[in-house]
């Protein structure tokens, strides 16, 4: 298989888009928004709105957090097509450097989804540093996912499709990976880390791995990320805070910048998950542009005092 760096990928996807345009609108019809995504009912009274699990075993705290939300069966049904979107932004460092999502957290989610009867569980991201194959390997995620029975997928240029963003305040359309929009279940699994431009990279920011034209999205970043989140709408957000990158993000490079926090945060509400994760850095959701913008758009709540938050120490 030809290995493409992101630079080569973006060139190829641009050429592909041009080719599709030449074929005519009939061959590239606007797909239905979130056609396959199932609507998730609100949590019941015995289910946490947001779960925070702490402990030394990443697999155990991931399971604990999901259990507090009502179990994976609340989100995944038999026969579902599931996509897990971790942060695998670069192939520079192994997971100890907290630039990429903890592989054990990802693999645990794969196991849970397959256990709930998912038809398939694919894991994917579009790194900007290195090739997808290299990033998948160096991050440790490929090995862990495959051992759990999941599939790593290299995002194909031909699957990026322009989608309208009806709720968008700054952007009204963008090229997004089609499968991410159409999967029955999208589990968003960011790693909590510093970001030089956005201040923090959390759940909403993690969705940028499913788009093209990154140089254009980084203007008015807060609102554009929120606009994108209004389209993508992950089913579940699980924030990996087993280790967090406290500075020099998003790529880091020094273990001196990594803090062991042994925490996983999970919620159906992307905004709430991000707002809670921000507190690990001494910040509030309102301190982060895209969290605030997403809350103002009604995509979720930053008011953690108004929802049922269950914290469990394992």
């Amino acid at each position: 298989m030809t290995r493409l760096t992101r630079r080569q990928f973006l060139k190829l996807s641009g050429a592909t888009a041009a080719g599709v345009a030449l074929l005519g609108a009939g061959c590239a019809a606007q797909p239905a928004q979130n056609a396959g995504r199932r609507q998730l009912p609100a949590p019941t009274s015995d289910q946490a709105y947001l779960a925070v699990a702490r402990g030394g075993d990443p697999a155990a705290i991931t399971k604990t957090a999901i259990a507090a939300l009502g179990g994976i069966e609340r989100f995944v049904r038999s026969g579902d097509d599931v996509i897990i979107k971790p942060n695998i932004c670069v192939d520079y460092h192994p997971p100890e450097y907290a630039a990429t999502t903890n592989p054990t957290v990802v693999a645990t989610l794969v196991t849970l989804c397959l256990g709930a009867g998912a038809r398939r569980v694919r894991v994917m991201d579009m790194p900007f540093g290195g090739t997808p194959e290299s990033a998948y390997a160096v991050s440790g995620i490929e090995e862990a996912v495959q051992a759990a029975g999941g599939t790593m997928e290299v995002m194909s240029p031909v699957k990026f499709t322009e989608f309208d963003i009806p709720a968008g305040k700054d952007i009204t359309a963008w090229d997004v990976y089609r499968d991410v929009i159409e999967a029955n279940v999208l589990i968003n699994v960011p790693i909590a880390k510093h970001h030089s431009l956005a201040r923090l990279s959390l759940g909403a920011k993690n969705l940028l791995g499913a788009i093209t034209k990154p140089n254009q999205i980084h203007r008015n970043l807060g609102q554009r990320v929120a606009d994108l989140a209004s389209l993508v709408r992950p089913t579940l957000t699980v924030v990996d805070a087993v280790r967090i990158l406290t500075t020099h993000g998003p790529t880091g490079g020094s273990l001196n910048d990594v803090q062991q926090t042994d925490t996983v945060i999970a919620s159906h509400d992307l905004v709430a998950a991000d707002a809670w994760a921000a507190t690990l850095f001494g910040l509030a959701g309102s301190d982060i542009g895209y969290i605030k913008a997403a809350a103002e758009m009604g995509l979720g709540t930053m008011d953690l005092g108004s929802v049922k938050v269950e914290e469990v120490n394992t």
Partner: protein
Amino acid sequence: MDGMKDDGRRTKDEPGAGVGIGTSRARTLVTMLGFVILVLSLAGCGKSQPASLIEFFPSAGVVPGWTPSREVELYDRENIYDLVDGQAESFFAYGFERVAVQDYENAAGAALSVEIWQLATPADAYGLFTAGIAGSPVDVGNDGDQDPGRRLLFWQDRYAVHVRARQELEAAELQRVAGEVSTALPAGGERPELLGRLPSDGLVERSALFFHEEISIQDRLWLGGENLLGLGPQVDGVLGQYDVDGTVARLLLVQYPDARAAAAGLAALESGDIGGLAAANVRDMLLGAVLGEIDKAAAEMLLEDALSDG
């Protein structure tokens, strides 16, 4: 006269064509004269522009055991996002011009990557270096920083160089590669003059950060994200961390292009909701501020020390 056409021009085949003396000798003199003019004009230039950054990378065999594993990748302001995604703004803040990336591998299958960043000025290269300090000092270039065996960063002239290993190596391996790059780069590069205003007493070693724009300091000092102080390419700033009798304080100095801008910066700072502001003042074009849970008298003393010319 012999060899002259009716209009006075000489043909190239005619004796004395060109400048009135032997052709070969004339060409030699013209070439030498042109070379002298070129050398003099380059000497008068503020900076040299290599044809390509590629010439700074060690070629195969220069560093024992390491060979280039693919072609050099080149990035400029148009495509830098392909390399660093949203971090691009952090590099623009230091006058980023271009970067080249070369990967290397050895016989054991180990890999490392070398990035050579060309910034607008040596001060910018120094600034980018200070923004990236995360490890321990290493003697490469003008200043170096390393996570031994994993990462090495140094600056020299207007270049910042980043060496990164894909897997942990002996620290000496990265140092050797970095050393060869340093040898190839132009020597020199002055640290920013403003650095000299940071009082040495209490200054935490290697904490000084040189900057122009707010993005460069916002993970150390959050000013609201709206460019409260009017920072930008036209200003120079330094931010240092101090240990004042066991209390951590930060000293911020911003050199504006004129006194009015400095005064505006002070006004904005004092009226903005900046937590921990202990003291602030201006002296001509220079704005200074001390932030932290520090005794007010100590803050004012530190500030006065920084702003004074004595």
